[in-house]
Amino acid sequence: MTMRPSVRDAMLAAVPSLRAFAISLCGNVDRADDLVQETLLRAMANINSFQPGTNMSAWLFTILRNLFRSEYRKRRREVEDTDGGYAETLKSHPEQQSRVEFEEFRAALAKLPSDQREALVLVGASGFSYEEAAAICDCAVGTIKSRVNRARTRLSELLSIDSAEDFGPDHATRAALSAGGRG
């Protein structure tokens, strides 16, 4: 008997999304990768608690989220790295305009309370339903909906989205100029 390929493959398949989620939580690629690694180790140590036939990805997200909250959040001050590790992932982005836009958005995302941020990312990017996100975050569905709404509203305020033009190419150009001015 060997490790079932389906289990290993399911874990591997979840890694890219786990990393994206972890980066959104940590704001730092290195810490996020450590968090993903710890998640995989924890998952394998507790594979007996995984219900076959259920969503492996959701299970791994739950573990990652709990690990982050229990351990990484204690180090929040040092974890908050608004211009460090995450920027590393963006350096190779081929489109400067998008890079600036990404950085601006990521900086705004980092300013959200963590409970709002995780809810928004789970529902808005990771593809989970409100119900799944509620299970991952161990809260009511209504709470997730409320957090997502508050996150969206706060993001729009941070990004000053007052018109369509403000979030298009022109906006990115202004952001690029602004970024250049900041040095």
Partner: protein, 100 residues
């Protein structure tokens, strides 16, 4: 094209257009990381765990021959995950009944 910033401020909710734009860039930022795929460290990690598990399985098989099936993996140090995975092989546990 314009958004409904004024109605948003009044109602405290974003317009659909604002939500769509926020959702769009959130997805792009997220997918930018997803597209990086699986870094080698995680492939290596899972391979290492698999290898250690297989080694543990060999020990367990020998132990089983001596009537010591419960010795499987026990005391093998820090990779507790490995033996747990080994013991629980998801579908096998259904076919073969409880294994510990």
């Amino acid at each position: 094209m314009h958004t409904e910033a004024s109605s948003r401020r009044a109602g405290g909710r974003l317009s659909r257009e604002d939500q769509r734009r926020l959702g769009d860039i959130l997805q792009r930022v997220y997918d930018d990381v997803v597209r990086q795929g699986v870094p080698d460290r995680f492939k290596l990690l899972l391979n290492e765990l698999k290898d250690e598990r297989e080694a543990g399985q060999a020990q367990a098989t020998a132990a089983y021959g001596q009537g010591e099936v419960h010795a499987r993996g026990a005391g093998r140090g820090d990779v507790a995950s490995d033996r747990t995975m080994d013991a629980k092989g998801i579908d096998d546990s259904r076919r073969k009944g409880p294994q510990r």
